[in-house]
Amino acid sequence: MLPRARILVIDDQPANLLVVEAMLRDSDYEVVTAPSGKEGLARLHESDFAAILIDVQMPEMDGFETALWVRARGVRTPIIFLTATPRDELHTMRGYEAGAMDFLYQPLNSEILRAKLSVLTELYRGRREMEIRSAQIEAHAERRYRDLVEGIHNGIVWTAVLGTGKYSFVSPSAQQISGYPHEAWMTEKYFMREHSHPDDRQGLVDVYEKLVANGGDVDFEHRFVRADGSTLWFHTTIRVADLTGYRELRGLSVDITYLKETEQSLRNSITLRDEFLSIASHELKTPLTPLQLQIEGFQLLGKRGELTRVPPEKLAHMLEVSAAQVHTLTRLVDQLLDVSRIKSGRIDIERADMDLTALVRKVALNFQINLELGDVSLELDLPDSMPGFWDPVRLEQMLVNLLDNALKYGMGKPLRIVLRQEDATAHLTVTDQGIGIAEADLDRIFERFERAVSAGHYSGMGLGLYITRQIVELHGGRIAATSRLGEGSSFTVHLPIHERPAPL
């Protein structure tokens, strides 16, 4: 239902006021009366009117003056002048100039009054409705913008009046992103600069100065120190807005820490991969070079017809060395394949009944030529047998990796393999007395492509221990290293002794 329309009647004659009130009684109108222009203006503040009826002839402030004051206050409400004076043109002109919509002549005719008011009321109601609707639209739009701004969780929307050094608005996300309360953002002077990473402070000042001098907009990246001391990266876009009398900076600072970290870790991965490729190609070439040379040696001897002059045991030895090189090459290629299998989760273990003691002996025997070349002794401290249900191929690979490392980093000093059983676990320890590993490096040596010492004189792709750890873990076991720099290293594998499951 529509609200009753209010009509303001301004007339110094109480009788006239009564007439209008009487005429509009029992209608849709609520009549508000005022005995003077001044009083009428005061009523205008109190409520909104559909129409204003003003008596032209009033003492002090006449109807035209009152109308001018009404308009001067920005009130657009239609005005109808009431006048007893017969119509004359000059009079009418003054009335329209003062903002009149219409004239009504006294004595008033009730029908005409109602008819005129009904038109004006219609107009008023239409206007009101539009006003309400546009206010709703405005409120809706504002809520939408506020929701949008408040919904930005990974960025801070802000404004600052140029020259104040303080924010005039900061979106609520600031608190969560920075760890500083919203109030600190709003009250601390030069907040952003003060909490910037020290290395970025000057850059920030430069950006602001340039912006202040040239206007326009700018975007840049800078670091910010959170309340907890950690560093975050912002990507900030700032625009200078010229408002009447002052300039405002409007900015969006997006938290791009995650992006930066991802970028950095990608960069690291690429560096690591490039290093790996260079190491891998070097490693593959290392056994190839002597192999090539050996073949060339045989060719040379063959050309000179001297092959038969080589003593048979010498020849056998040379071939054995060659075989060791081929073996190394094969192992390197296998490692590369294993890493890609581990990465894609395609490495499986195939358990079988086996004897770990026998396997250690076999691997040690296969290592004989390498040990001889390096003039290194190997001591075995093994039980007579240690049966278990493991993957013999993978455990052999594990042993080869461990022994290979011990030989490589053992500085030619004696090596030792100890095998013990404790409850249902096999403990296998490979010990060398070589260069050792710094404590800080002990953790990362089991990672892919990692090695404790720089490539320099120690060959290998940094894959051996990584693969070894995967093999051990696939068996449900674990591997640990202890070491002292310059005194050697010990790698111990703890393997649960599974028994073959009873057939169903």
């Binding site: 070079t289 002597p290 050996q294 040696g297 040379l300 001897l301 040379m318 003039d375 004189h457």
Partner: protein, 122 residues
């Protein structure tokens, strides 16, 4: 040897790659050289003092005491510095920078090696 007093020439190989050393040794022994091997500079210095070789084949890049250390030691000793040194290296620049008597690039050409050893042991 057709004329003169024939003595067996001694070659010292200082090289960390055991397989390469082994091969050079085999080939040189077939040529009737006496071959001593050292797998790093320190062993090389010991052998140098002990065996007084006629020719040295030296690899520059070795762990620990390397080719540079070895040369420093040899050249500082008046009784050893005359022994010709054949440097074997994959890097020509490195090899030339130490001004050896001869330089053999890696990968090695065995015929070239034998010729060079023969030339400096004559």
């Amino acid at each position: 040897m057709i004329c003169g007093v024939s003595t067996t020439r001694t070659i010292l190989i200082v090289e960390d790659n055991a397989a390469i050393t082994e091969l050079m040794k085999t080939l040189l022994e077939l040529e009737n050289y006496r071959v001593i091997t050292a797998k790093d500079g320190q062993q090389g210095i010991n052998a140098l003092q002990r065996d007084r070789p006629d020719v040295i084949i030296l690899d520059m890049m070795m762990p620990g005491v390397n080719g540079w250390h070895f040369l420093d030691f040899q050249r500082a000793d008046a009784t050893l510095k005359h022994i010709p040194v054949i440097v074997v290296s994959a890097f020509g620049e490195i090899a030339r920078s130490v001004q050896p008597d001869a330089y053999l690039p890696k990968p090695l050409k065995l015929e070239q090696l034998l010729e060079t050893v023969q030339k400096y042991s004559a």
